[in-house]
Symmetry: C2
Subunit: 592 residues, 2 copies
């Protein structure tokens, strides 16, 4: 059976040594997050993930969810108890306001817990994950009465949440959506329509399910400007929160999927269900977008999570499996063969994953810290810079971490050879589960378009300028430090590719938007590689400053591997981008 | 339900226009392969794959194989009838000698049929595929009596074959194998041991199963030099072929795998089973290696097969699914949205697959033609050149086509968005099935070591020199042709990277073999990209020469896409290779 150990020490190093979290003490919530508190919180979270969530991952995959003829959905054995343990531990409201029962700790700690939980059991972690997403939307857009009604019970874990966007004929293009809302005399609405791909839409973990639903109010404009957001509880609730009659919403079927079998993906049928408007009428899409940054960051974390757990299990196999001899002579002459970790090609695979995991985790924490600043800082300039950063990096984190997270799960599976293909060993599940993260919460091609079409040009490119400037500044600051040369020289070269790619887009995409579309994915990966390279620069700097240890030594090796073998891909990405859209657009649709 | 249409026209273009198959008329077997015969054979094969094999692919995945308490294994519904149709059509012995009941047609046609069949139903196609592998070994190494006993019945499809190499503690490192063979007075051997991962080891498709088994004769040397090859039929057979008593071999269990569910992957227990030596004692590994080129070529074809069928289904979805509007204005203003094939990023994904498929198919046919020459030519020089080519390109075809074939199935799945993740749509199965081809028949890292450590330096690098010379010659010949400029200029650049990489290996890998190991995979992909680029050069040349048509126009666009967007990856591969082994080897095993 696969196993999982949460990388608590690595996280603490990143928070303390790389990002100096103690310097954020001026922000509300951070002052409570002393090193002791952070250490205790993460140790407790790690324990829950390792001991409660992870052991259920494989059985959850095997059993999957079951929809019964009466529309009930049951989750795999043990999920209910594990979910309760998660809720009882206070994890649901870790960074939610104390006013609603949350712990008001920094969001960055929540991101760490998402990392651990998605490694341990992605399917299970999605139930609280979606609840947190729904809470974020209610927190920003809900009325005070809605917040008081829903948030405390969701934080307690008694009620869970969902997001209902997709319909059979519309996913990315929400302007086409048909679910309609008819106003009722009491101010509520009757919601009717079919939603698909609703994760956690129905299950047996909580007393009630709070559906957030996009629908069109009768007579509203067509397209995206006529979409409103509604809250539709599975059980209607009294003002004091007592659940009452069943609402007119039911799970019509669940999907048979490639992975995340433990999470129910539901077709939800709304048949005159009673819902209440959240925020302003016809502004539903905007309401959704506000919470999308954090949801997308969370999905990026899922990519990292599968990469991490796949890596750990591949390393365990590579240390254990005896096969062949080292090219430079036997390393375990007393054994019939050497462990395969002696072979350079096995190490290449493992190091590719490792070199990603550490930098990706840094990128997640760095971005999550910006989310904290953007929510909590009193300084408008600091807040704006953080918002710029979040907006710019969110699509990169989402797409890059899920693309590479999936590739890494595949690489880890390859380390196990034939055993990697057998379900019993668990690597197949990591691959199958990781795959969804490239697709949902905006497929990765959509992330690339968001980056190139919206985030990059916004405010005259201010956010990108700042990012490029920060990386350039780091290279310059450390140019004289010999120990940093193996990091800043390749980083500077990759930054040059990114600058050239950005310039190319500025010159070629305005007049010909297909050039932006055809190059978007490559540009996103180009930028992502530079961001990971910058993270390695920061990690290396902190590792040099820390007292020497095998752990710090290993970081410097993994970082060098990244610089020598992974970062050079920027050249290919730039070449693809600069090729432009001609060959991409030349073929008539019928000739494909 | 996914569908499949065999690319017969593309194959005919490659055989006739690109590789001038009619010029091979001096080889035995080819004179019978007139254009009419080839056309009829491929049309018939396409029909069988499209109408009989493909419709069972999804049900085979869902039902899988079942092992019953008595050790019997049953295959999914319909597999037996489809297998019979395959055998009855004469496909099993398409390129086997007429003396044993085969049709003696060129091997290249067999490769085409493998391409079609693995697209249509990979799991099902493996039953005849393994039988062909076993036949190839018997044909080269079996005694005349063994050939007369086994081959005709295998060609008829009444008996199937398997290859038994792997044991629980040894896969790649066969020197460790423990299955033992004790001589019996009648000249046969008693075989005892456990073999794992035996595809098609037990099933209900044929009257008998002919196991080829690697085992160590009592008293034989340790390591790879003491391994012999045995033939062990499931039912003992009289000299006239009548099946008799059950032999001492049984299926102990079948594996629960990520994919190819319709093919039974068996643990085979040999308990004093009667077997007969095939070829010389202690030369079993050499006997296996002879047939490995064709088996590995066949697995490469499986990668292409999944890429092709995934592409076809992604294109169908992209033409049908309406979502969003083209960046340059509505293309289907009469509809609520444009089909997603208008979006550059969707086209990028589709064209990446298409640009691979066509060139990969060319590479397969080119290599299969060398197999034909090496088996059939009377001219020793021609034969040697063909053997050089086969030996050099086989690991490249196996690893490159399965790595990219898998990546392409993933890309095709991405085109379907959320639907790609739902089993009903079939893309998930293509991904899951494609994954095995990177692992079995020598994991791809082993292919890379075979290329760099054995094939490249063999005979003073003769085969590689010839390959580099051929590509260089092609570039020079076409340098003056303006229409060929978009092909030969990038190809020449990529060839330069390959020459530099080869030189780097010569200078750095002799003294430090870890440099070869750490760079092997990147070198293989570097060479594979150049090989695909060369194929595109050849295709473009033939397309220019053919009369203009939308089909030829589409080839030129796909080829240009390859040159502009895929071939530039050679630079990154070269950079990784040239980084050397230092960072790869620096980390102690315990620090991973």
């Amino acid at each position: 059976m696969p196993s999982y150990k949460a990388p608590v020490e690595d996280v603490l190093f990143l928070l303390d040594d790389v990002f100096a979290i103690q310097s954020y003490g001026h922000l509300p919530g951070f002052s409570d997050a002393s090193p002791d508190v952070i250490g205790a919180v993460l140790t407790e979270g790690a324990k829950l993930c390792e001991e409660v969530l992870a052991p259920l991952n494989q059985t959850g995959d095997r059993q999957g969810c079951t929809r019964h003829p009466d529309g009930r959905v049951t989750t795999p054995e043990g999920f209910k108890a594990a979910y309760d343990a998660y809720a009882d531990g206070g994890w649901m409201g870790l960074s939610m306001p104390a006013a609603y029962g949350g712990q008001d700790l920094p969001h960055v700690l929540n991101s760490v817990m998402q990392d651990f939980a998605s490694s341990a059991n992605l399917a299970l972690s999605m139930y609280p994950g979606l609840t947190q997403g729904a809470m974020a939307a209610l927190l920003v857009h809900g009325s005070e009465a809605q917040k008081r009604l829903y948030l405390p019970r969701m934080i307690e874990g008694r009620w869970t949440g969902t997001m209902n966007l997709t319909e059979p004929h519309c996913g990315t293009d929400l302007g086409l959506l048909r679910t309609r809302a008819v106003p009722k005399p009491d101010g509520s609405y009757a919601i009717t329509g079919t939603k698909i791909f609703i994760s956690a839409g129905e299950h047996d973990l909580s007393e009630n399910i709070v559906h957030l639903v996009l629908a069109r109010i009768e007579g509203a404009p067509a397209g995206t400007k006529g979409i409103s957001l509604f809250v539709v509880p599975k059980f209607l609730v009294a003002e004091d929160g007592t659940p009452g009659a069943r609402n007119g919403v039911a799970c019509g079927s669940i999907e048979h999927k490639m992975g995340i079998h433990g999470n129910a993906t539901c077709v939800m049928n709304y048949d005159g269900a009673t819902g209440w408007l959240v925020g302003e009428a016809n502004r539903g899409l905007a309401a959704m977008f506000v919470m999308m940054n954090e949801a997308r960051l969370a999905v990026g974390i899922q990519g990292l999570g599968q990469s991490e757990v796949a890596y750990q299990n591949a390393v365990a196999y590579a240390r254990d499996r005896l096969q062949g001899r080292s090219l430079t002579g036997a390393k375990a002459p007393e054994k019939p063969a050497d462990p395969i970790i002696v072979h350079p090609d096995v190490r290449r695979m493992l190091l590719s994953i490792r070199a990603f995991n550490e930098a990706a985790r840094a990128l997640v924490l760095w971005t999550a810290l910006q989310a904290d600043i953007s929510h909590r800082s009193q300084d408008p300039q600091e807040r704006q810079a953080a918002e710029d950063h979040m907006g710019l990096l969110t699509p990169v984190v989402k797409a890059l971490l899920t693309d590479l997270g999936f590739d890494n799960a595949v690489k880890a599976q390859q380390v196990l050879g034939g055993h990697g293909y057998i379900e019993e060993w668990g690597l197949s599940q990591f691959v199958r589960d990781a795959r969804i993260a490239q697709i949902y919460e905006g497929a990765n091609g959509i992330q690339a378009m968001d980056l190139v079409g919206r985030k990059l040009p916004r405010d005259g490119g201010r956010a990108m300028m700042r990012f490029l400037g920060e990386v350039e500044g780091f290279c310059k600051q450390n140019a004289g430090d010999e120990a940093m040369t193996p990091f800043v020289v390749p980083l500077g070269k990759a930054l040059g590719d990114l600058q050239a790619g950005t310039m190319w887009l500025m010159q070629n995409a305005m007049a010909k938007p297909d050039n932006a579309g055809a190059g978007a994915t490559d540009y996103l990966h180009l930028m992502g590689l530079v961001a990971l390279g910058y993270m390695w620069g920061r990690i290396a700097k902190a590792a040099h400053a820390a007292s020497a240890s095998p752990r710090m030594e290993a970081k410097l090796v993994a970082g060098r591997f990244f610089m020598e073998r992974m970062l050079p891909e920027t050249a290919t990405r730039l070449a693809r981008l600069s090729a432009g859209a001609d060959a991409v657009m030349a073929m008539p649709a019928e000739a494909f």
